[in-house]
Symmetry: C2
Subunit: 340 residues, 2 copies
């Protein structure tokens, strides 16, 4: 028996594969991955990776490659860490349910290396005694059919989603343990002690610029030129700041200014805008849905974010239908409902 | 000298050409038209019309055909009626300024056969002593390069935009006079004595369903299925009803129900949605812009309509840029503005 940790990474796409490779590079883990779409290619020939961090790699394979979570469970391995690096679409797939076969209650640490806000909540419901880590990745990396092209350094910020049933020490220890399995001389993986603050900070951009660009079909530069930055996105940012405040999180006083200026000089298309353009579902629920749930619980009014959310739900419906996830009858059914 | 009236119709596209043909069919007018895009074809070979009202017509031409308003003015004709049947895009073309060369102050009657709300206002500023008629067309008719295909009966409702400088009698008389030039045994052109009421009634649909479908990229059926009808459009309709009320217009108590059910059984794509799909600018200012101006003057809160309007302004900016009406620098300029 080695003292290596059993790590399972789910979602080895653009980001996930670089995380997986980083973990393998450190060498303290017995690494398994779940790769769905590119399974046949990867199982056979491995990944070809062109990476700003690791250089050019041909045919990389971790110890175990599975086509789905059930296969990873059937192997009989007991996983110490499960890293989830899939796109975060709870309105399509509930990851907390999908991973059930591979999670040992009270033992497995889950690492949510995903976009979004308040991601721990559904996991605490299913796994009240497990540590749920937060991983925010600032990487640029794309996957085309098992060929990974990483153009921006792998920078990750690891913290924990505060589980009220566990001690802070226990959760912090697990965060550091995960970092020790993943951090190496090529990447930049650090501990940050407040996941909630960090995720609120990210939301100031994502809830306001990412969403509005997705709805209107422009980049952040055109959003500014057309007036939408001032009329919709900045007022929306103020709503995020207010929710954070009500939630006990004090964002920097110049946060709105920094967020707007973060795209200075770039006609930048945020991720949700790119998704809509490609016809892919957007990470709406984990960005705006979860935020508005918290706002509602705290009694914070969100007149702008709510309209933006409700409009994007219609867009999401369209995207899902275009992807065959929703089917409508050929004839539009007639309702006898009375509308008021 | 005949006792025919001099009528100039501007914008002989799908709708305008059928109106023009109807006027010519009646035979009480000396009819001129301004046709911009298809001028060469129409001047040479006339219109080919396939009409549910008038049958198949080859090579129809009115008395005079002009490529632009200046040419219509240069002819020396004095026009009794000017019918404007262009798409209504005041953020691109200000019709009240464009028609200046052909309007005789205090004499010419203008007929705004166009979509939108409160259309008289800019004309009253320029022509305080002229009658400005309202024509709401309920026709289905399309133009492809001078070939007109009219699929739905020409039904028009004529009234007047209330000019406070003129007597009601004078304005009503002009409305009836115009109807006498246009109404015939094939079309269905009626007088309605309250343009404001009629245009508010139309806005209940246009400000809420037309706009939201345009923003989200769906038809009214999918809007209902996806939840957007309930979360955005119906609350937006309630705002329209409130503005109307504050403006002294009492809409029917079941107006929201009738409007929603008006598309029963159809996966119907409203005009603004079709425009966005085709990459054409939308009639945003005359539908939402003018309404929100009135709401502001009356002190009516419009939290939903305002967000929808501000988002659509971004879409309009994008559509204008795509059409070459706006050009942006290659490098995104950096501002030193402090955002708060």
């Amino acid at each position: 028996m080695s003292d290596k940790k059993n790590v399972l990474l789910i979602g080895a796409g653009g980001v996930g594969t670089i995380v997986a490779y980083g973990i393998d590079y450190v060498g303290k883990s017995n690494l398994s991955i779940v790769v769905r779409r590119d399974y046949v290619k990867v199982k056979d020939a491995g990944y070809d990776i062109s990476s700003v961090d690791y250089g050019n790699i041909k045919g990389w394979k971790p110890a175990n490659i599975y086509p789905n979570v059930d296969a990873a469970a059937a192997s009989g391995e007991v996983y110490d860490f499960i890293v989830i690096a899939t796109k975060n679409l709870p309105d399509i797939v509930k990851m907390e349910e999908l991973v059930k076969p591979v999670v040992v209650p009270g033992k497995t640490t889950l690492v949510l290396m995903q976009n979004g806000f308040d991601l721990g909540r559904p996991f605490f419901v299913h796994y009240p005694k497990n540590v749920i880590l937060s991983g925010v990745s600032h990487i640029g990396s794309h996957n085309s059919g098992g060929v990974i092209c990483q153009t921006q350094k792998d920078k990750a910020v690891v913290s924990y989603f505060e589980n009220p049933n566990l001690s802070k020490e226990q959760q912090e220890t697990k965060a550091h343990e995960f970092i020790s399995l993943y951090s190496n001389d090529k990447n930049d993986c650090v501990y940050f002690d407040d996941a909630k603050w960090y995720r609120y900070r990210k939301l100031v951009y994502n809830a306001s610029l990412n969403t509005v660009c997705a709805l209107t079909g422009v980049d952040t530069g055109r959003l500014a030129f057309s007036g939408g930055l001032d009329t919709v996105s900045i007022p929306a940012m103020r709503e995020v700041v207010k929710i954070a405040e009500a939630d006990g999180v004090k964002l920097p006083s110049d946060v709105i200014n920094s967020v707007v200026h973060s795209d200075d000089g770039d006609w930048f298309e945020p991720s949700m805008r790119v998704d809509v353009k490609k016809g892919n579902p957007v990470e709406l629920e984990v960005i705006l849905g979860n935020l508005l749930k918290v706002a509602g619980e705290l009694g914070v009014e969100t007149p702008i974010l709510t309209v933006v959310y409700n409009l994007l739900k219609v867009v999401q419906f369209r995207l899902k239908e275009e992807q065959g996830l929703i089917t409508l009858p050929k004839e539009r059914p007639i309702t006898d409902r009375v509308f008021k």
